[in-house]
């Protein structure tokens, strides 16, 4: 067991866990932040996606001991961000979700995409969202919602 100071959604959190524990399980079980989901545990589905220092990261394979000072943002905190809020709103307006279980990860991946590519093409979307499984296969609406969020965010910007 070891103690870690984590910076999560702008707050300092202290946990005392085995160093090998993946960030996913620290979030879900030690910090009771269950918005980040477990889907596969092997980096194949993206359900566990969070941002670590702004990079979309599979929390199921990152041991907590590797995080250090880097800021973590989860689905619970992404709404405080302009892009994050716009993506969440676009998801609701576009009626994307079905079972919803994958959508935390989808939204985190989409936010990361829009942050560096404000006007993504279909190819950009295929690439950035390409590792996130939606078993319900809500992909058509995910694509649509990303475009809607992009339009909203770039409105009046040019």
């Amino acid at each position: 067991m070891a103690t870690y100071q984590l910076n999560i959604n702008g707050q300092r959190k202290e946990v005392n866990v085995d160093p090998s524990t993946p960030l996913l399980w620290v979030l879900r079980e030690d910090l009771k932040m269950t918005g980040t989901k477990f889907g596969c545990g092997i980096s194949a589905c993206g359900a566990c996606t969070v941002h670590v220092a702004g990079v979309a990261t599979r929390s199921c394979i990152v041991p907590v001991s590797h995080i250090g000072e880097r800021a973590i943002v989860t689905i619970e905190g992404i709404g405080q961000d302009t892009v994050g809020r716009a993506v969440q709103d676009a998801w609701v307006d576009t009626d994307v979700v079905q079972c919803g279980y994958c959508q935390s990860g989808q939204i985190m991946a989409a936010v990361a995409l829009l942050k560096h590519t404000p006007k993504p093409t279909d190819a950009n979307i295929d690439e950035s969202m390409g590792g996130n499984i939606c078993r319900c296969a809500t992909y058509v609406r995910i694509r649509e919602a990303i475009k809607n969020a992009a339009a909203e965010l770039t409105k009046g910007g040019e």
Partner: protein
């Protein structure tokens, strides 16, 4: 039921037998806070299903919120929005104040058609449509009666809108104000439902009620549950189905910090080793450190390669007859160019719902409490009670929102619930969450069965099929379950022949027979069940016939369908006009694929625009035309079809099969069994709904069967090859 048909009556009788045994005479009439609850019917007497007391379904709170209980699991299909829409519309409720809740297990929430509480057969709307409308209308009548009494007038003088009753002289009262008085009014036995033109939001696009909490991380799925003092268990399952633990070496596992116990447990099939820990991670770590010797004596070790050989042999001989119409012997005299002989192979498929399977139980000796995303509350509640030595009514069963299911959460032997209960029994008083990892899920069985089809079609002078001989080989899903009694008839499991035996094509000389081999792999219904393979066989063959006859694939289908197959003819006609603009003007390197199929009472016609990119099919556009009767929530219908097509493409994925070698499943996780990613799904899907006022039919399963044959038909035009084996390993 407006939708009652001969077969559903049969289903109902079958299920009722099951449920009477389960019910033990208990009748739950009330469970909401009695303070605001509506009148309880005299003494809580059992009553006809149509006289459900509305109080079990509607709770009008003093703050004006209207809480509606949804009698079945929400796992993506949108029922948590659609059923409240039906009730709220008849109630004239203010939709912005409606809250939907998933009801716990109770007799009052049983499916009116099936007689057990469940989701299946795309019946959520079809079976509860009338029920929820009546519940809304009855509740409204009681509120109006209360208002009329208050104002000394008649109900006829009152009208309702947005949770307010308006009376003569400008008087009005909110539902919340009237709820107390209304609760003392008798539940009316009969009510008049709205005319189609009076419906306010049924039939209009209404957004889901559960979107926001699913987008901000606040919605709690079963797996997210956290109870004080809760422990987490994982189980080491046998590598061969039904194997038993011979020896456990667990010292290393026990040394993992946070591990509380390690012990052998009885499973629905064989035995396993449970690891109980404070949290999931140590439990999983410990499990990987277990050394277990398994006893597989006497067990059949299923092997996909061997099974194909065996199935192929079986398929070359006639089996138990499912259909015998006219004469198919003419086939044997036909020359080769007037005959198609086709053999199809379909592998085992895992459901792999996004939220791994899980169940939480606290056993307190004389009662238990359960939290589970279950498609089968009645069955699971009974199974848990049995394991714990309780009566079903001593088991409080909460329905948790589930991350997908596709049939996987409706298992006749309730093996996940039994597993959880077996462990919880040892931990009396401590809540226990059982978690299946993705590996448990992918390797854990209960798959869509493997199937082999052999079809011989004789082509008539008119280019239409003159004779059709069809043999299907595959395990029976329902044999050895309580459902066999009404699904298996004369040795034929109709969940395997649906879509072939009852085809809507006019096949005058038609012979269908089946073989149901016994194989040591547990099998289960997988979203759209038999139609997953039968639609592929029928629709690729029909396409081949149309091509040989040089007839447009839509025109050919319309010609061959029976005139009474309205649920397919109408969608085909709509598809024809709706896709006319783009269908025959595809870019170079693209091809059109067509299919149509009816399942669960819903008819679907599908057109796809496909090209080949990186040696895989790319679906640039798909269009479906759908006849599902009245589309209660057209937005939800649209969404189910858009995504359901993507789900259906699971069958085409290069790594979309579960295979076994020497009894052991070869895939472990999403790296070996790969569902569609965004690149594999259609880029765009247009959904055209046939306008209808007929009783609604389901939309959960009907999208799935049409897509794979449509894509295969398009590919055939691109490559000149006919694709008869799934998954599509290469083109």
């Amino acid at each position: 039921m407006a939708t009652a048909s001969k077969s559903s009556d049969m289903n109902r009788r079958g299920f009722l037998r099951v449920s009477f045994a389960a019910a033990g005479g208990l009748f739950v009439s009330l469970y909401l806070e009695p303070r605001f609850a509506f009148a309880q019917e005299a003494g809580g007497q059992p009553q006809a299903p149509k006289n459900y007391p509305p109080d079990a379904f509607v709770n009008i709170r003093p703050d004006g919120k209207i809480v509606i209980q949804v009698n079945r699991l929400e796992f993506g299909q949108g029922v948590q929005t659609a059923l409240p829409m039906l009730l709220a519309d008849e109630l004239d409720a203010d939709w912005s104040n409606v809250i939907a809740d998933l009801a716990p297990a109770a007799d009052v929430y049983k499916d009116p058609m099936f007689g057990i509480q469940m989701v299946g057969g795309s019946g959520s709307i079809a079976h509860s449509y009338q029920q929820y409308r009546e519940l809304g209308a009855k509740t409204r009548a009681m509120l109006v009666a209360a208002a009329a009494e208050r104002w000394n007038t008649t109900p006829a003088q009152c009208r309702t809108e947005a949770s307010v009753v308006h009376g003569p002289g400008g008087r009005s009262a909110t539902y919340a104000e009237l709820a107390g008085d209304a609760a003392r009014k008798p539940v009316p036995a009969n009510v008049t439902l709205k005319k189609a033109t009076e419906l306010r939001f049924v039939g209009k696009k209404v957004k889901r009620l559960d979107s926001r909490p699913k987008c901000d991380g606040t919605l709690k799925f079963g797996l997210d549950l956290d109870l004080p003092g809760m422990k987490v268990a994982v189980v080491a399952h046998p590598p061969v189905f039904g194997a038993r633990v011979k020896r456990i070496v667990d010292d290393e596992a026990r040394r993992v910090e946070g591990v509380r116990d390690v012990f052998e447990i009885q499973l629905a099939k064989g035995s396993g080793v449970a690891v109980v820990a404070d949290k999931f991670w140590p439990a999983k770590q410990a499990r990987s450190r277990l050394k277990i010797e398994w006893d597989t004596t006497g067990l059949d070790k299923a092997d996909s390669a061997e099974l194909w050989t065996r199935y192929k042999q079986l398929g070359s001989t006639p089996g138990t007859v499912a259909v015998s119409n006219g004469d198919v012997k003419t086939l044997d005299q036909l020359p080769g160019d007037k005959r198609i002989v086709a053999e199809f192979e379909f592998p085992f498929l895992a459901h792999a719902p996004m939220e791994p399977l899980n169940t939480t139980i606290r056993f307190d000796g004389d009662r238990a409490e359960v939290w589970a995303g279950s498609q089968f509350q009645t069955v699971d509640q009974m199974a848990i009670a049995e394991v714990l030595g309780l009566k079903p009514e001593q088991v409080t069963f909460h329905t948790e929102m589930a991350g997908g299911g596709f049939g996987r959460r409706a298992v006749a032997d309730s093996h996940v619930q039994r597993e959880a209960a077996t462990i919880a029994k040892r931990l009396r008083g401590t809540p226990l969450k059982l978690v299946w990892t993705r590996e448990d899920d992918v390797q854990g069985g209960y798959y869509r069965p493997m199937h082999f089809h052999r079809v011989e079609v004789g082509i008539g002078a008119d280019g239409l099929p003159a004779a059709w001989r069809h043999v299907i080989v595959g395990q029976s899903i329902t044999a050895d379950t309580p459902f066999a009694a009404f699904v298996v008839k004369n040795g034929v499991d109709s969940t395997m022949t649906e879509g072939v035996a009852d085809t809507h094509y006019n096949l005058k000389n038609h012979h269908v027979s089946v073989h149901h081999p016994k194989v040591n792999v547990p099998v289960l219904w997988w979203r759209s069940v038999g139609h997953t393979h039968t639609a592929f066989v029928m629709e690729t063959l029909i396409d081949e016939l149309a091509m040989r006859a040089r007839v447009d694939p839509i025109a050919y289908r319309r010609r061959l369908l029976k005139p009474e197959a309205k649920k397919l003819l109408r969608p085909l006609e709509l598809l024809d006009t709706a896709t006319a603009r783009w269908r025959n003007r595809l870019p170079k390197g693209h091809a059109l694929g067509i299919s149509c199929h009816e399942s669960f009472g819903t008819g679907v016609a599908c057109a796809v625009d496909v090209s080949i990119e990186n040696k895989r099919p790319r679906v640039h556009r798909a269009a479906v035309a759908v006849d599902c009767g009245l589309a209660v929530n057209p937005l939800s219908v649209e969404s189910q079809f858009q995504a359901g097509l993507g789900f259906g493409l699971s069958q085409m994925m290069a790594k979309g099969a579960i295979t076994l070698k020497d009894g052991v499943v070869e895939q472990r996780n999403f790296d070996g069994f790969v569902p569609p990613y965004i690149i594999d799904a259609p880029m765009a899907v247009d959904v055209h709904i046939v306008p209808s006022t007929e009783a609604p039919t389901g939309c959960g399963e009907p999208p799935v069967p049409v897509i794979s044959p449509a894509v295969a038909n398009a590919l055939a035009r691109l490559t000149g090859k006919r694709y008869r084996s799934l998954p599509l390993v290469s083109l």
